[in-house]
């Protein structure tokens, strides 16, 4: 698909969202990933989510690390600024960018090598700080660009394409994010757009550190029998704890509440997350319960998906730091410089 240029002209009848954009306005360059790559499905889900949320593309900043997944921000939201940073260090760059301008929407895109191997430290600390962002981990358990080495999320006992068996324990990114203080934690599957799109929308609306681990099979190096990150394996072992509907504002709620097991979770920005329980024993507002549930599912070889944790009282880094309302990048000497008169006083105190 790499060789076919995308037509620039859009069909005049394409539907527009509330801010006047068609879905195609949320696309980016043509993907250079392998045909069938799970990451491209995630890009498509992101395009869908931003379009449906009526967010102007240029109000989004996309940041990524290094790897196949980290290349994808070039393939969606072509009118957004993007930053392909340092391997494993996207979280710190995103933190700095967020501090500089709190008005934009921050999307972090990373992979399992990027977040769980080289970048495990920054992954943990960005969650601790509660940076307001949507952090998507495109998890395939394998290094693509360097051709097929295991990453730190590969399950113990899973088999590499070349036949090696992984002996190391896997890093479970959702449990880690939960324990480190992320206030929105979900897991999904690139092959399940119905589940993924509402999760992404809810994560974007969430004001705090939102993390989605998306199992995203690597068709080139990790889609064979013996892999626990293949399309077949994930489809067979996917255990969704809930289904999510996302309502952009309180006014728009028109569903009937008659069906059992639906919980409304209002968000700071006025939107509502509606959770439809699939597993009646699962309570996503109970952190301790969530951790043990995830661990138990992993024991059984199940891939637990859905909204795994949502803190009711999330706060973000700007709240913690009590920062000024206007973006820092718009402040000049008038707002920032204490002036010569003050300096005279400071001098006087040092004599």
């Amino acid at each position: 698909m790499t060789y076919v240029a995308k037509p620039k002209l859009h069909h005049p009848t394409l539907a527009k969202n509330k801010v006047g954009y068609t879905r195609r306005d949320y696309e980016g360059k043509v993907s250079t990933l392998c045909a069938g790559c799970g990451h491209d499905s995630i890009s498509a889900a992101l395009i869908q989510a931003f379009w449906e949320l009526d967010i102007q593309p240029h109000r989004v900043a996309k940041l990524s690390g290094i790897g196949c997944s980290s290349k994808t921000p070039d393939y969606f939201l072509g009118n957004s600024h993007g930053f392909n940073t340092v391997h494993g260090r996207m979280p710190s760059v995103l933190t700095g960018a967020n501090l500089a301008n709190r008005e934009l929407i921050y999307l972090g895109v990373s992979g399992d090598g990027d977040s769980a191997s080289i970048g495990l430290g920054q992954f943990a600390h960005v969650m601790r700080r509660g940076v307001n962002m949507t952090y998507i981990l495109e998890n395939n358990g394998v290094y693509g660009l360097t051709k097929g080495q295991f990453s730190a999320t590969a399950d113990k006992g899973s088999k590499a394409k070349k036949g090696m068996i992984n002996a190391d324990a896997p890093v479970d990114t959702v449990s880690l994010a939960l324990l480190m203080g992320a206030t929105f934690v979900a897991r999904s599957f690139s092959g399940d757009k119905k589940q993924l799109v509402p999760l992404v929308k809810a994560a974007i609306a969430h004001e705090g550190a939102a993390f989605i681990d998306v199992i995203s099979p690597c068709v080139a190096f990790n889609n064979h029998p013996g892999s626990t990150k293949s399309y077949d394996y994930v489809r067979e072992h996917n255990e969704a704890v809930n289904r999510l509907d996302f309502w952009p504002s309180r006014d728009a709620i028109t569903v009937d509440y008659s069906e059992g097991g639906v919980i409304d979770v209002p968000q700071h920005d006025g939107s509502i997350i509606k959770l439809r329980k699939l597993d009646s024993s699962y309570d996503p507002s109970d952190k301790i319960n969530a951790v043990s549930h995830i661990a138990r599912a992993a024991e059984k070889g199940e891939v637990l998906t859905g909204l795994l944790y949502l803190a009711p009282d999330a706060e973000d880094l700007h709240a913690h730091l009590n920062t000024y309302e206007a973006p820092f990048n718009r402040l000049g000497e008038k707002e920032l410089c204490p002036g010569a008169g003050m300096l005279e006083k400071i001098n006087a105190a040092m004599r």
Binding site: K29, Q56, P57, H58, R59, A61, L63, D74, N79, S80, H81, G82, F83, N84, T85, V86, R89, P91, S92, V93, L94, T95, G96, A97, N98, L99, A100, N101, E103, L104, G121, Q122, H125, R129, L317, H318, L321, N322, T323, Y324, E325, P327, F328, N329, L331, G332, E333, E335, L336, C337, P338, G339, A340, M342, L343, E344, I346, N347, M350, R351
Partner: protein, 613 residues
């Protein structure tokens, strides 16, 4: 026995135990001279330790205003039994040893050529105080009182300083004043005339201020408009970030809302610190980090990305000796090359070298302008000697008409007006492209930021010509930086001079003093203080016009000399290194001796005054 007699010109060294509360008493002592109009230059020599290890505080009292370390000690205040032998050894012949004689010491512990002044400090404190911590703390104030009496320090000056220190803490004010008076009275009665080091009110201080370089650099960042600071604790830079926090909490609160117009993140490591700074710079906020050598090593990957992706970042490197702990609490200028060439690929960075707190302030603000104008990492190369010691310097200055130079930022209006935007396109011939902040315009000016593989319009490209265009443009930009960075400062000799001397940073006060000492020996040297890299043409011309140039540095490998050879094309045979790197600050005595020896080894007869043109 010889007896050193000196007025307003001597060195006192305090040998203390870390954590014994001596620091504030010693600072009180140092400041009392300033209040009497006598310049003073104190230095902390401290261990990697919180409590128990030896620590020293050296005070040079100098009416002439020589602010470098002199070397040698005229009066040792020996309060630490652990280091007694080494402390006693350091005293100049005819000098003085002030000690606690509560317990008698064997004669063998003293020196025949040093005057011992004993005072029963422990006994006095034990009699006066019951609490063990008070006994310890007030002992320090008692000896300051005694020294004040012995040296003729005006007691009113110390009372005033104590008053300022404990303003609003009446509970502490009175006991401190009492302790001071107790020491003062004891020495006045029992130790009359034993010390030949005296002070007399003078007028050598003027309007100068007494400040640590780290605090000054932090304040420079406040004035220069830094809003984001990310850092990881590392000696000797930690107090810089802490000072930024302190100043911001007073100077950067929005009066209406009480909200902070700053954000400080103590990151998990230096990789995250520089990552946060890079992200903030990319998004248009002024950001800096403060660190030291090992931090620079960790930051190197990011520094390369910021260089290639052309993102403003300010890195303040408070230099110290090498890795691990121990020597790292001692000063050095040993990160020059690590910073000049930090990272992978072909990289060169802009460095500024402040000489004192005054320049730490000015240059920190300048660095923030330069980083945005040049869209690149800029380093402020200070060191422990400047950073963690209070230094007498010119008052800090700020021009209220000064505007921040935000560099070439393309706005929505410019894009709307149809101005061409190429993120990596050289439009003005200075190598500096325009940038846009994220979120500027719905359809124009967005780009994808990458390290290397891009064309002038930030479109992915792996072609050779695109890469070379970019690399040549970066070189042009680096060259253009010469027109923006602070120029070198020339101190011409009073007589025609064949020799030149190049120095930088904290070497400055000792160099100034050495130049006078050399002139007194009829060795005339033109001196050039380098204040920035890349090197301007003036530096090349200076080297060309002298047959030999001494390059004075506080590192082992003559790092600035290497940079002069590499980057200014100076003939290495003309550069003679004078290197000092034992962890103590370089002294005028050392520079004078080394240059004198070198000059005589070069077999050059000093120019006679009467034969000079």
């Amino acid at each position: 026995m010889k007896r050193i007699e000196a007025l307003n010109d001597f060195v006192v060294k305090f040998a203390n135990v870390n954590g014994s509360g001596s620091a504030s008493a010693n600072e009180l002592f140092a400041k009392s001279f300033l209040r009497m109009g006598i310049p003073v230059s104190p230095r902390n020599i401290f261990p990697s330790n919180i409590q128990g290890l030896p620590t020293w505080y050296e005070v040079r009292v100098t009416e002439r205003g020589w602010l470098g370390r002199r070397g040698g000690v005229d009066l040792m205040v020996a309060m630490n039994p652990q280091t007694w032998a080494q402390d006693v050894k350091e005293i100049e012949p005819g000098g003085y040893l002030f000690y606690d004689n509560t317990k008698a010491l064997p004669q063998g512990r003293f020196r025949d050529d040093v005057h011992a002044i004993g005072m029963p400090l422990t006994e006095i404190c034990n009699q006066t105080y019951t609490d063990s911590r008070e006994r310890q703390l007030f002992k320090n104030i008692v000896y300051v009182g005694a020294l004040a009496s012995l040296m003729d320090i005006e007691p009113g000056v110390i009372a005033e300083l104590i008053g300022e220190q404990y303003k609003g803490k009446e509970k502490l004010l009175k006991p401190n004043l009492n302790a001071f008076q107790m020491g003062y009275n004891y020495a006045g009665e029992k130790l009359k005339g034993v010390l030949g080091l005296k002070v007399k009110r003078a007028y050598g201080v003027g309007d100068r201020i007494f400040m640590e370089g780290n605090a000054a650099a932090a304040l420079g960042c406040v004035y220069g408009g830094a809003t984001v600071c990310a850092w990881y604790p590392i000696t000797p830079s930690s107090s810089l970030a802490e000072a930024f926090q302190r100043y911001c909490s007073k100077l950067r609160l929005d009066p209406a809302t009480g909200k902070n117009k700053f954000a400080i993140v103590q990151a998990e490591d230096e990789l995250a610190s520089i990552g946060i700074v890079t992200g903030a710079g990319w998004n248009g906020a002024r950001a800096f980090t403060a660190t030291s050598g090992p931090g620079i090593s960790l930051m190197s990957e990011f520094i390369g990305l910021a260089y290639f992706a052309e993102i403003p970042a300010v890195i303040i490197d408070v230099q110290r000796g090498g890795p691990s702990t121990g020597m790292p609490t001692r000063t050095q200028q040993s990160d020059v090359l690590a910073c000049a060439y930090a990272s992978h690929g072909d990289t060169k960075h802009v460095l500024l070298f402040p000489e004192d707190p005054h320049e730490c302030f000015t240059m920190a603000a300048d660095c923030l302008d330069l980083a945005e104008r040049l869209q690149t990492p800029v380093f402020l190369m200070t060191d422990l000697d400047i950073g963690m010691n209070q230094r007498l310097c010119k008052p800090l200055e700020w021009d209220d008409s000064r505007q921040y130079d935000r560099g070439k930022v393309m706005t929505a209006e410019m894009l709307e007006a149809g101005k061409e935007f190429g993120r990596y396109l050289d439009v003005d011939g200075d190598g500096i492209p325009f940038r846009t902040y994220p979120g500027t315009h719905p359809t124009k000016g967005a780009y994808f930021t990458r390290g290397t593989s891009k064309n002038p319009y930030a479109v992915y490209s792996e072609t050779g010509p695109d890469y070379q265009y970019n690399m040549q443009r970066l070189l042009k930009k680096h060259d253009f930086a010469k027109t923006l960075v602070p120029k070198p400062v020339l101190t011409p000799a009073n007589e025609p001079a064949r020799f030149g001397c190049i120095y930088y940073g904290s070497t400055s006060p000792s160099m100034t003093e050495a130049l006078e000492a050399l002139a007194a020996r009829n060795i005339f040297v033109n001196a050039l203080r380098i204040r920035a890299f890349p090197f301007q043409d003036e530096i090349f011309d200076f080297c060309q016009s002298h047959s030999k140039i001494f390059v004075v540095e506080q590192n082992r490998d003559a790092q600035l000399r290497t940079l002069l050879v590499n980057e200014a094309g100076i003939n290495p045979a003309s550069l003679i290194s004078i290197l000092h790197y034992d962890g103590t600050p370089i002294t005028a005595r050392y520079i004078t001796r080394e240059i004198s020896e070198s000059v005589s080894a070069l077999n050059v007869r000093p120019i006679k005054r009467d034969k000079a043109a």
